[in-house]
Structure formats: C-alpha cells, structure tokens
Amino acid sequence: MTYTPTEQANIDAMYRFMEAEAVQDWDTVYQFIAPDCVNYSPTGVVRGHEEMHRFDAAMFAGLQSWRRTILDIVADGDTVVFRWRAEARLRPSGKQAVWEALSWVRMKDGQIVEGWQYFDSAEVRRQLRPQKEAAL
C-alpha cells in the first residue's frame, strides 16, 4: 500500500490515539481530537471536548476494563476507516462483552474533526444484560 504522507500520518495518529486510550491517557487522547469535533454513534451525538470528557467519564466509570484492537485500517485522503474489536468488562458485575465495530473519521491537521461509529447496540446490550437466575 502506498500512502501519501498525510494518509500515513493519519493512520499513525489513530494507532497513537488507541494506545493512549488503552491507558486512559486523556491528555494524549485529546491531542488527536479537534476542539469542535463531532462524533455520531448509535448512542447519540457528542460535540466538542467538554461533551466528550463527560461521555468518557461516564463510560469509564462503569467499566472495570476496556480494550480496543484495530483489526484493519484504510486511509483515503483525509479519511481513515478502521474496524476494531472491543473487549469491555463492567463494574461491578465483571460481566464481559466483546463486539466488533467500525470507526469512520475525517482528519484535519492530525486531529479528528468528525467521526461516525458503527456497531450493533442491540448486540452489546444483549451481552451486558444481567442474566436471569436459573429456575430451581
């Protein structure tokens, strides 16, 4: 694959973003997100750093562990698209969910300016739903 320098830089930025997220190094994570970035996902729309901080704080408060692994990535001009697998463990139940998702992001000057997250929220909910006690 031959990438332009910008495409290669965008791919590298996404890997660094994911590495920082894995260790919850938010200062580094937010270096890769434009202040007025808009993120669309099945759970709603989040605009700008402040809303994103609130979203991340709420999400990570409910998680014991969180890991995302990039499965495949493509870059085309200012666009980077990557498929990823998430492994999450809920706090305090310890219940685990694994799912695949896709992020489509538009980059400018090394930062994400717009992002669309695609995953099956029904599948994630199904995995995280408390299980019924077995009937005696």
Binding site: M1, P42, D72, V74, A75, D76, G77, T79, V81, R83, E100, A101, L102, W104, W116, Y118, F119, D120, S121, A122, E123, R125
Partner: protein
C-alpha cells in the same frame, strides 16, 4: 483524490451494485459477487453466493417492497473499498417507510466482491419494524 485504476474500478463496482439493488435487479447484484464470497453482519455469516441468495430470498426481498441505498461517503485503499450508506425501504406488509444507516467494508477480487462486512445498528432497524401501537381508546 488520486486513485489507482484498480481502486477506481472497485469504487465503480460499488456504485454499480448500489444502482442494481435500487432497481431490484438481484441477478445483476449476484453477478458482481464471487462464488465463494463471505458476507458477515454481526454474528450472521453467509458463505458463498448460494447462501447469500437463500438469505435474501427469505429475509430481505419479500420483506421490503422497495429498497434503495444511498452512498454518503466512499474510501478505497488497495483491494478494500469502504462506504457509508443509508438504506430507505418500504415494508411489504403494511407500506411503512423505514430507513437505517450502515457501513460496508468490502474486499474485492478481479472487480468482484470477495468479502463483505456490514456494520449497522440492528436495534434501529428492529425499532422501526415493530408494528405500530394501536391508539388507546
């Protein structure tokens, strides 16, 4: 955007497939797919053209009297072509309009679809497929 000839051809194949889908020319669609194409959507995995045909014949074609996808955005990189889309469809059962969004990640071989992964939110589709509630008297 500067594409190599293969990437340009792959983008054209996607646009052709979407146009054929809108015309409900299913045989035209299957002509663009390799015999052993693997298609996945969440836990559903279809192996080969025959399974794809059988799935469409049971769960898609009779359920929607009209269906068309609109491409919002497309990216090509080597043998991969990825596109964000919205599907607009009409339920055959009661004529209601439904729509949902998704992304298809495809790997192409010789101008045909050899692998396809669809990412969409089935919760959004299920919500719309539910019969409307009767008004309370």
């Amino acid at each position: 955007m500067t594409y190599r000839p293969t990437e340009r051809a792959n983008i054209d194949a996607v646009r052709r497939m979407i146009a054929l889908e809108g015309e409900r020319d299913w045989e035209g669609v299957y002509d663009l797919v390799t015999e052993d194409c693997v298609t996945s959507m969440g836990e559903l995995v279809l192996h080969g053209k025959a399974e794809m045909r059988a799935y469409d014949a049971k769960y898609f074609i009779p359920v929607f009297s009209r269906s068309a996808r609109t491409i919002f955005d497309i990216a090509a990189d080597g043998d991969a072509v990825v596109f964000r889309w919205r599907a607009d469809a009409t339920l055959a059962a009661d004529g209601r309009a439904v729509s949902w969004e998704g992304v298809s990640w495809c790997r192409m071989e010789g101008g045909k679809f050899a692998e396809g992964r669809i990412y969409t939110d089935s919760a959004a589709i299920q919500r719309q497929m539910r019969p409307p509630k009767e008004p309370t008297p």
